[in-house]
Each structure stands twice: as structure tokens, then as C-alpha cells.
Amino acid sequence: MPQMNMVQAINEALRSAMRKDKRVVVLGEDVGKVGGVFRVTAGLSEEFGEDRVVDTPLSENGIVGCAVGMALYGMVPIVEIQFADFIWPAYDQIVNELAKYRYRSGGEYPAKLVIRTPVGGGIKGGHYHSQHPEAAFIHVAGLKVVCPSNPYDAKGLLLASIQDPDPVLFFEPKRVYRAAKGEVPENDYLVPLESAKVVRPGRHVTVLAYGAMLYEALDAAAKAAEKGVEAEVIDLRTLWPVDIATIVTSVKHTGRLVVVHEAPRTCGFGAELVSLVVERCFYHLEAPPVRVTGFDTPFPYTLEMEYMPLSHRILPALLDCAKS
């Protein structure tokens, strides 16, 4: 099985989807000849032509609005927003249009498309190349939100997202685009949406993480194990609808919960995860749930490593949680 990084795995998924279905088109800024600023769409323009791999004008609102219309026609658009930080001009089209089209048309017009976008910090990108805005989309009725952490899941989840009948926001953790490597089958396969994965079993504390922060959680868990604390680390993979069964099973087993995410804490996805767990596992909890997150500030440039919930912050949190 070939070794790949996430960029290559996502590229493989796009290429395969475009080969199998002529309706699949890729739209975005710099996705054509240059193959995207992260090279995720490299080579697609050469293989499928400029009509299906479209370098668009620099307007996220225009890209998504047009993609909604294309989807209504019957195409399967896959949009690349160059950085998640640039997605806000398209927010109206995503929230009020894309996410609502099936509902408000009584099911007459499902508007199906996938929006891929790199998220997260740790690349010296400053506020406008580092945000991790999942909560603003999870809050929106009608959207599914996916965030893979490794090449295998990235390919399988993207293929599943393209097949899924609902609109999907596909957040790609750019910090590990190339750092995360692994075996990826050449053939198509699906990683089902709404399925989390226990990536490290443990019995003392449950750690929920996703994207690039999964590696920080695993690092903290390995260090905690040296101190006798066995953390169970779950990669959520699909953020919404989240795999609640896997989470509840784990927390009922460990009695303790630590949630990790890069985004700001207040009203972040961690708030929802903690609520869901408290509602379902209150009498199993041995300690207050803990959130290890980015802070409620804009994403800083120079101090980004202090902002991010890296292993050095996760480790004490899960040791405290396990011992309290």
C-alpha cells in the first residue's frame, strides 16, 4: 500500500471522484494551474480541463453562491476556500442558502456540495491563516462538518462526503497536511461519516480531539501513561453529527472527560461536547469535565504556540482530571 501525506490522499480522492462522475467540478482560487496554494488540487486541471477545475475570481461569496446554483442544476461541486479564515464572505450563502435549500423547498431541491478548506494554526499564519471555525458551522441546521486527522481518513471521509446527500464542510488541518503520513489504499473506500475512532484505549480519562490537535492529545496521553494515567483518546473525525454513542460509551467507562480544540473556548464545540456528556453521563462522572482550547482572543502570530492547546497544556489538564 502506498505511503501518502494528507495532501496526496485528498488529491487522490478528488481525482477518483472526478474520473467516476463527470458532474464533479472543482471550484476555487488558484485550484487550476498552480494546483492550490497547498497543492491539494495539483494535476487535476491538466487531467480534467479548465471547465471542471475552475480558477475563479477572488470572491468566496461568488464561489459558493454559484456552486449552490450548479448543485441545483445537478452538478456535484467541490469548492475549495483557500483558507477557512476567508470563508466569511460566503457565510450567508452557506448558512441561509446551502444549508436551508432542502428544508425550505420541502425537499424539492437538495443543494449538495462539499466545501473543503484548510483550518488551524501552528504554521505562522497569523489571524487570517489560522482560524478553526467549526463551531460557527456546527451551529447551523443542515450542515455536516468533517475534520480528518490523517491521510487514510482524509481520503475515505472525503469520498464519503462527496457521496453524502447533504452539504458537507470538510476542514483540513493544514498543520499536518504533510506531517501526517500513512498507508492509503489505491482503490476507493469510504470512512463513514458520524463514526469516531478510539485511537488509544485507556481507562482513566476520555480525551476528545480532532484534526491536528489529535497528535497533541496522543503525545500528552503517552506522557500521562508514564505517570500511570491511561487516557482513552478519541478522534471525532466527523464533528457534526457527532458519534455520540462512542463518546458516551467511553465516558461511562472512564468517568472523566477532557475536550481539546484549537478554536476559542466560549461557545466552542467543546461546550457542546461537555453538555452532551453531562446530560448523558452525569452519574458516571467522577470529576468536572475540562476544556483545553484556544483562548477567547484573535489568533495571535508571534505567540501562537502559547495560544494553541498543545501537549504541554493537555498533559496537566488530563492528569488533574484523572486525579481529582
Binding site: 461569496n61 454559484c66 456552486a67 449552490v68 450548479m70 442544476y73 450567508d92 441561509n96 428544508y103 425537499g107
Partner: protein, 377 residues
């Protein structure tokens, strides 16, 4: 291009005079832009314009009686709305703003389905999920209505752009008002259509007002049509109260699309004779004498005069038509009022194709919980 010296001066002090007009005051047609409609086509258009207006008046009355919650009408704009839809081919799609129910009816939306939407009942195709007039009818190629004023513009562009990539000759007509030209989607949609030569007809119903805000507060350009130049597409001004002119310019725009020449922006000059909707009182921001010149240019009156001069219409036919509309309207309302509201479960359907666990839980919560005080008439 025709001169239109008699357009009311209040409309825009320094507006240029080039406005395409076909139906003159003496009820003759200018051969330069005459769409050469046959007698039955003209009668059909007239009937749909009358139908639209009659329904508008009755729906406002229903709202005033508290029997429906809302209506947003097209009083005075019937020629622009009906004429543009008529000029499109059956395979083309319409992306409405929210004032275009007349176009949907002409394209095949059954009256009963429309009235069910006005009541938001169980037979409403959108299951009472939106306000009245926010209907949908796929069989008529009528896209879903949303309240934000410009969002349908980029969608219309994407729709016919998708058809173009697919190698199919399918155009779209997108309706929007003068207010929507200030929106991001107007700029994005026009720009994308220009760059990718998309066969889309941008129909700006310049009706003078965006709720209470006059056109002078939307733009500093002399016309809306001239904005097209910024996007490399042609812009045309047309007398929006002259249905022959509207049909003519929209047909020409469709032809341009067919020939691979891309999009056209049409500014249909008309006037919103009513309020923005049943929710506002235009007397608070608009002098009533502003209506007078436009009342004299009423699109229905002008077409009726044309038909009467040709002995194709008379009072007896008018009364028969109105009686027929009234009878069909009353029957549809009677059915719609008796139809129950959508079931509670429908609130949770179509959010996704299949309700995920959280919506199943929330649906069960509503079903076993207490009922809200009924707000359904």
C-alpha cells in the same frame, strides 16, 4: 433605441432617455423592437397580468382580515414579471426574488398549491416552513424563494454555468429589485457571469423603492443598466410597464445566451404601486402624488387599451375573467383554510436527507411534550 420623454420626472432627475419601448401611447407597436406576438399570446399575457393583480388584491384583503400572515405583492410590476417569464423557454429556470408568484402560476404552479403556500398548511409544498410567497415549484423550473434580496443572483449564474459545463443550452432568468444591486451577490453574480460567459438574464425590476429607501440611496450611477459595463456584459433599459418591450428584450437576452455571448443585464423601469409588503405603510415615506404619473402608465391599462383598440377585449370579457379568478380563488382558499397545519414531525424532516440522532431526539421531545397555544387560524 426609442425615446421615452414622458417618463415621470420624479423617477430620476438626470436619467438618460434611452429606454426601449414598443407600446406607444396611441396603442401602436414600434416595429423595431416588436416581439410579434400573435393575438392569443397577447391575450394570454393580459389574462396572467390581470390574474396576478386580482390575486394580489384578494391576498392583501385576506391578510387584513387576519386569515393569512403576510403578502408581498407585485402591484404595478406585472408586465415586467409576466413578460420576462413568458420570454424564457420551457427548459430555462427562473430564480425569483419574492414578488414573482404570477410568473410561477404562468409557468404551471397550480393555484391551489400557491394558496396552500399562503396558508402554510399541510399541503404547502414547503410544509409551512417559510413565510407566504416563499414558494417553490420544481416542475415549473421555479427555484426556492429566500428573503435576502440578492442571494438568488449568484445561484442563477451557477445554475446555467453548470448547464454550460454539462454542454446543455439552458438559461436562467433571475429577478431582483433595485435594492439588490447594492448586495454582494449582485456584484459577484454579474462578475462571474461576465468572466465565464454564462447565459443568464439579470432582470432588475427598478420599482423605485427598497421598502422605504429610494433608488438614489442605492446608487450614484444614473441608471442601473450602466453597471453592466463594469462586468463586460451589455446593459439594457426597458419600459417595464410595456409588456411587448419586456418580452422583446428578454428574448434578445436569451438569444445572446444561445449564441454563446453570455449574460445580459436588463433594467426594467417600473414602479411599486403598493407598499413593500403587507407589513409596511408607504404613506410614511412616499407622497401619494408620486403615484399619479405611474398610475397613468399602469401596465394593465396600457395593454387593455391595446386590446380594446383591436376589438380583442371588452368590459364583458374583463368581468368574466375577474369572476372566474374570483371563483377559483374562493374555492382554493376554502380548501386551504380547511387543510390542517403540517404535522409536528415535518419540522424535523428535510433538514438533512435523513434525520440524524439529535433531530430524532428533538422530534421525540416535541411529540411527548406539551403543545404550544395554537396560532393557526
Amino acid at each position: 433605441m426609442d425615446m421615452m420623454p414622458d417618463i415621470p420626472a420624479t423617477f430620476r432627475p438626470e436619467q438618460p432617455s434611452k429606454v426601449i419601448r414598443v407600446l406607444s401611447d396611441d396603442a401602436t407597436l414600434d416595429p423595431r423592437h416588436d416581439p410579434r406576438l400573435n393575438e392569443s399570446e397577447v391575450l394570454e399575457l393580459y389574462r396572467w397580468m390581470v390574474t396576478t393583480r386580482q390575486l394580489d388584491e384578494r391576498l392583501v384583503a385576506l391578510q387584513r382580515q387576519g386569515r393569512i400572515g403576510f403578502h408581498v405583492g407585485s402591484l404595478g410590476e406585472e408586465a415586467a414579471i409576466i413578460g420576462a417569464a413568458f420570454a424564457m423557454r420551457k427548459k430555462d429556470w427562473l430564480f425569483p426574488c419574492y414578488r414573482e408568484f404570477g410568473a410561477a402560476l404562468m409557468r404551471g404552479l397550480p393555484l391551489q398549491v400557491f394558496i396552500d403556500n399562503m396558508f402554510g398548511n399541510a399541503n404547502d409544498t414547503v410544509l409551512g416552513r417559510q413565510m407566504p410567497n416563499h414558494s417553490t415549484h420544481r416542475a415549473s423550473g421555479y427555484a426556492s424563494v429566500s428573503s435576502p434580496v440578492g442571494t438568488q443572483i449568484t445561484q442563477a449564474v451557477g445554475f446555467s454555468w453548470g448547464a454550460k459545463i454539462d454542454g446543455k443550452d439552458v438559461a436562467s432568468l433571475v429577478y431582483f429589485g433595485d435594492g439588490a444591486t447594492s448586495s454582494t451577490d449582485f456584484h459577484s453574480g454579474m462578475n462571474f457571469a461576465g468572466v465565464f460567459k454564462v447565459p443568464v438574464v439579470f432582470l432588475c425590476r427598478n420599482n423605485g423603492w427598497a421598502i422605504s429607501v429610494p433608488v438614489e440611496r442605492q446608487t450614484a450611477t444614473r441608471t442601473f443598466a450602466e453597471k453592466a459595463a463594469a462586468y463586460g456584459i451589455p446593459g439594457v433599459r426597458v419600459d417595464g410597464n410595456d409588456i411587448f418591450a419586456v418580452v422583446s428584450v428578454v428574448r434578445e437576452a436569451v438569444r445572446r445566451g444561445e449564441q454563446g455571448l453570455g449574460a445580459t443585464l436588463i433594467e426594467a423601469i417600473t414602479y411599486r404601486m403598493g407598499g413593500h409588503s403587507t407589513s409596511d405603510d408607504p404613506n410614511r415615506y412616499r407622497a401619494t402624488d408620486e403615484l399619479k404619473p405611474w398610475a397613468e402608465r399602469d401596465p394593465l391599462e396600457r395593454l387593455r387599451q391595446y386590446l380594446e383598440r383591436r376589438a380583442q377585449w371588452d368590459d364583458r370579457k374583463e368581468q368574466a375573467l375577474i369572476a372566474d379568478i374570483d371563483q377559483r380563488f374562493r374555492a382554493a382558499v376554502a380548501v386551504a383554510e380547511k387543510t390542517p397545519p403540517p404535522s409536528l414531525e415535518t419540522m424535523f424532516e428535510d433538514v438533512y436527507e435523513k434525520p440524524p440522532w439529535h433531530l430524532q431526539e428533538q422530534c421525540a421531545e416535541v411529540l411527548r411534550g406539551p403543545r404550544a397555544p395554537s396560532s393557526h387560524s
